[in-house]
Amino acid sequence: MNKTEFYAKLSTPANDPASLALAAIQGDGEAGTYLRGVYDQFLAFSVEVTAFSRFDLEGTGQGEAYFATVIQVVGYEILEQLLDTFTSIINQTGGESTLVRNDLLRRRLFGNERLGPIARNIVKLWFTGNWYQLPRNWSEKFGPAPKDVTFTVSANAYVEGLLWTTIGAHPAGAKAQGYGSWANPPRIPEFGSDAVVR
């Protein structure tokens, strides 16, 4: 499956986006290698903007579903543009401090009129499992995106929201911590500190 086919299949409502994405990135030949590369970029970008490791992100089992969700709602082209921008920022700031990289990410990605709202939505996807409807002015300018409504990607996406891990809690209704565990202080996981950022 090459990227055009992948995209076309994603637009067919009957197909399950996550399994399609999985099939695409596990595909053989050039097309498979290519899509795998894009997915890798997607995860690298996600690591950067969530401060969770690739292991943690894959540990949610939601990577393919989010990848497919973004493509489904706003299209392949815009995601590639976002990821290319990200990669060029990384290449440009190789070896420099997080502070410098974050500045560039803000100026060129989060502050980009077209890409910023998508970048923020990817962050929110990872933390909540929800795709949030894009701001109206975005749709007016860059739309239309018929699938752009607020929705929860899946029950598991909700359960795997990184928000809960971040605060040492658990999603309401799942991953309970055990009778009486609530009497203890929360165990908030440590994460890579970027002391340079003030």
């Binding site: 596990q26 490791s53 690739r54 292991f55 943690d56 894959e58 540990g59 949610t60 089992g61 899946s154 029950a155 598991n156 359960v159 991953k175 309970a176 911590q177 055990g178 009778y179 009486g180 565990s181 009497a183 203890n184």
Partner: protein, 369 residues
């Protein structure tokens, strides 16, 4: 007295410790199979695996209570407490091995073998003579280890009889074998796991009751005279039959004959499973990778958990609720995270926890002598 009876208190203590090893040894297999199921799918299989795993944990705690009741020592940090997988079960020499693997048809067959029912036969049928490979730690009624029990149920029956006989001998001399500190008994107040009440073992009656609970929940009895083989008198269904439902694709309901369930259908989606590396080792993961580190961290956490349990079983009961239970809920998350990560260079297989506890202790230099 037959040569394969458990003749001394010391031997009974050894047997009870082996029971803990045994109950625990199934956990890595059941839990890996359970968490390999993709979330939201295979609900029936998940429920069954979860209940069985949870009850194995309960059985291990019951074994600890039995051991503590006769003044034995519980130490789960001892080298060899967690076997190296694949492993034979003490009753399964020449027969089958337990693997740490995903939920697959062959894993299910193994589970059925682990839990195969007790055939209520004569004492002679209880044991078989076999040669035991050197590396296998095995349950044996005699010191030279040449005979083994045919099933786990037989093994527990032997323990039960030993309790009865040793206590009768002690009573005849005006003493008792129940000399343990009652404050070491873990009761429901300290640990709840579903599927059974934990009561203190302080005398023969409670000891026998505890052993019967383990046998009934585990393998169940097959008794021609008792048509209620599938369910016990409390309407509980033994592990063997729980798993058999998955093989037969249907739930048992009360009144069903073994092998002929008539309840609601069960469907299994064997594809909705993360296929994991079979019997994974840390060495299967690229050294220095996040995956390697996470697998190592899991083993460290698990080793600490066994140390914590040891403390809890040795008088600090409150640690059960305060620390051990939350840790168990934590392992679910840690194992899930590993299982959802593809393992590089493993032919598309996913990672899983390795449970190399002795090796981890060695790496950490904390291995107990």
């Amino acid at each position: 007295m037959d040569s394969h009876d458990i003749a001394t208190l010391e031997s009974l203590e050894e047997h009870l410790f082996s029971a803990m090893v045994l109950e625990h040894a199934t956990l890595p297999a059941y839990l890996t199979a359970l968490y390999s199921i993709k979330p939201g799918t295979n609900q029936d299989a998940s429920n069954i695996l979860r209940v069985v795993a949870v009850e194995e944990m309960l059985h291990m705690t019951i074994a600890a209570n039995l051991l503590n009741a006769i003044g034995g020592t519980v130490n789960l940090t001892q080298t060899g407490f967690v076997p190296s997988y694949p492993t034979y079960l003490p009753d399964s020499i020449d027969d089958f091995q337990i693997h740490i693997e995903a939920f697959t048809p062959s894993a299910l067959e193994t589970f059925l073998k682990i839990e195969r029912p007790v055939y209520l036969g004569t004492v002679q049928q209880r044991v078989v003579k076999r040669r035991i490979p050197n590396h296998v730690w095995c349950l044996s009624p005699n010191k030279d280890g040449t005979t083994q029990y045919t099933t786990i149920g037989e093994f527990y029956n032997a323990i039960k009889e030993s309790f009865i006989r040793l206590e009768a001998e002690a009573q005849a001399k005006g003493s008792t074998i129940f000399t343990g500190d009652p404050a070491f008994q873990i009761t429901s107040e300290y640990y709840y796991s579903g599927g059974g009440k934990l009561f203190p073992v302080t005398n023969l009656d409670s000891a026998v009751q505890a052993i019967d609970l383990v046998i009934e929940q585990g393998e169940g009895y097959v008794d021609e005279d008792k048509p209620t083989g599938v369910f016990d008198q409390y309407g509980e269904i033994a592990h063997f039959y729980r798993f058999e439902q998955l093989r037969l694709g249907r739930y048992y309901v009360r009144g069903d004959k073994p092998g002929f369930p008539t309840g609601p259908a069960i469907e299994i989606d064997w594809d909705a499973v993360y296929l994991t590396v079979v019997d994974p080792k840390l060495a299967d993961y690229p050294e220095g990778s996040e995956l390697y580190q996470a697998a190592l961290n899991f083993n460290i956490a698990y080793a600490q958990f066994l140390a914590l349990l040891t403390e809890a079983y040795n008088g600090k009961r409150e640690l059960m609720m305060r620390a051990a239970v939350p840790a168990m809920f934590d392992f679910r998350n840690l194992m899930n995270r590993l299982i959802r990560n593809p393992a590089p260079q493993q032919h598309g297989r996913h990672a899983a926890a390795t449970f190399e506890i002795d090796a981890t202790n060695a790496i950490l230099g904390t291995a107990k002598a």
